[in-house]
Symmetry: C2
Subunit: 308 residues, 2 copies
Amino acid sequence: MWVRILGNSSGGPFQGRHYSAQWVHNQRDYFLVDCGEGTQEQLYRYQLPVDRVNQIFITHLHGDHVFGLFGLLTSYSLKGRQRPIQLYSPPGLSAFIQDVARHCGIRFSFPMEFIEVGDERPEKVFESETLEVSTVPLRHGTCCVGWLFREKPRPLNIRPESIEQYGLTFEQIRAVKAGADLTLPDGRVVANGALTLPPKPLLSYAYCSDTAPSEAVAEAVCGVSLLYHEATFTDEHIEEAAAALHSTARQAAEVARTAQAGKLLLGHFSGRYADTEQHVRQAREVFPNVEAAVEGVEYAVGEPTEAV
Amino acid sequence: MWVRILGNSSGGPFQGRHYSAQWVHNQRDYFLVDCGEGTQEQLYRYQLPVDRVNQIFITHLHGDHVFGLFGLLTSYSLKGRQRPIQLYSPPGLSAFIQDVARHCGIRFSFPMEFIEVGDERPEKVFESETLEVSTVPLRHGTCCVGWLFREKPRPLNIRPESIEQYGLTFEQIRAVKAGADLTLPDGRVVANGALTLPPKPLLSYAYCSDTAPSEAVAEAVCGVSLLYHEATFTDEHIEEAAAALHSTARQAAEVARTAQAGKLLLGHFSGRYADTEQHVRQAREVFPNVEAAVEGVEYAVGEPTEAV
């Protein structure tokens, strides 16, 4: 599973940063997560296969997370796209896009399916062959959801010697791969764990922006391999963070620690900061495995991190 | 008078081009003309004094000319702007912006004045100390207006020798500068032209995009110093141009010739063209003083053009 940062700015195109957007790729799934103004250009800049996207996940309807959507959808239409696109978001996106289309006289060439969700509790909304996607309840003053991408359990790998030892049939192999124990002709039961190799850990990625620090977030993303958590401010501006329902880098790190995340990526930086050194330093006092998200970089979810 | 090209693409962020937007600057006036997605970033890229803009002129409500407006206005608001902003456009922009603000929960920190105009005939809509701005009726299937920026007549310069020769008083000098003839004590009349230096020609700039070729455009911009005319296509795609109510470069040149423009800038290029050599070559067969608009370049209106 891979995450490419397309934009990590909170306020606008300042300090060379762009509005919020990410590209999440796993096997045959290509997702766009948030779509601030200029996302299309970022997609072209990094030569991403934009036409492969079938699902777009939006956190909330503030402009810095959605103003790029209209141009992107218009471009799909100009290119004659016919394949449907699914848009997952808090309530209101469907009406929003319909209003924009009406004002601009756009008739889309492809169907859109809107799946509008609440932010009261985590909810699984999408499932592909290899991945499932759930909401993460955020706290931002408007209906706002993070998105959790989780690998689905894969068939187990059987220890090669088991097949011969027990003379497993094709059907027995399938059952054991799916997690079943084996019952022998004499009635004895061999535990699945003795027949299969230890499963690889399932990878997961959570995108949590925008939000005030929240126990509910930590709970929903518990054990996540990679957590992207907004860190709009440094300690110095903690009151401003609280007033605007944003987080400081340290607060993001506290969420990562509570959630026992594998690694924390900080993002959604306020335009007032020329660099993100303070963010990382303050977060690292709480949670050591932390980086500031860098635009254009592709992060491998669950990869061991080099010492920083 | 200066024009900075911020975007010269028709369809999207292709071939390194950006959506339509221009920066027009004359004396104390700073105007934004059209505002496609990404305009804000272009304004920062070229370090333009974005906060000095008090008037924005929009040609029509197609997304590639307005989708950058919401982010720009939101950013003004985040910066606490209080000075009003005037938005000139075809009907519907006010309702459009209100709808977007409602969907996103934006409350602007500054008042907006909407001046919505028709495209039946040219109409003067704005006047500053040194400049006036009129609409140009375009032909694009939706209400669409070009924008003509014209220097206002300046006080004439008196020939220094006239003052002594006729013993001009302060009041007489003011009248002559304003264009009056001089009546001598003996009743003889001295024509204004004999007392003043020949006036410098008044400069003008017309922005005409998007439009099919149109006599009405040529008429409205007659004698313009610099004409920016859309040239979405080359000869090869003339039928596509007609169907979409766009122009070829040659057709743009025909308009420039009919209008006796000083110079023609071609723009709004389709993303299918990697370069604009064909556009310029085909236009030049009709109208010699032509260039393809280049993003980032600041064009001086009415400057003599170097040989190309």
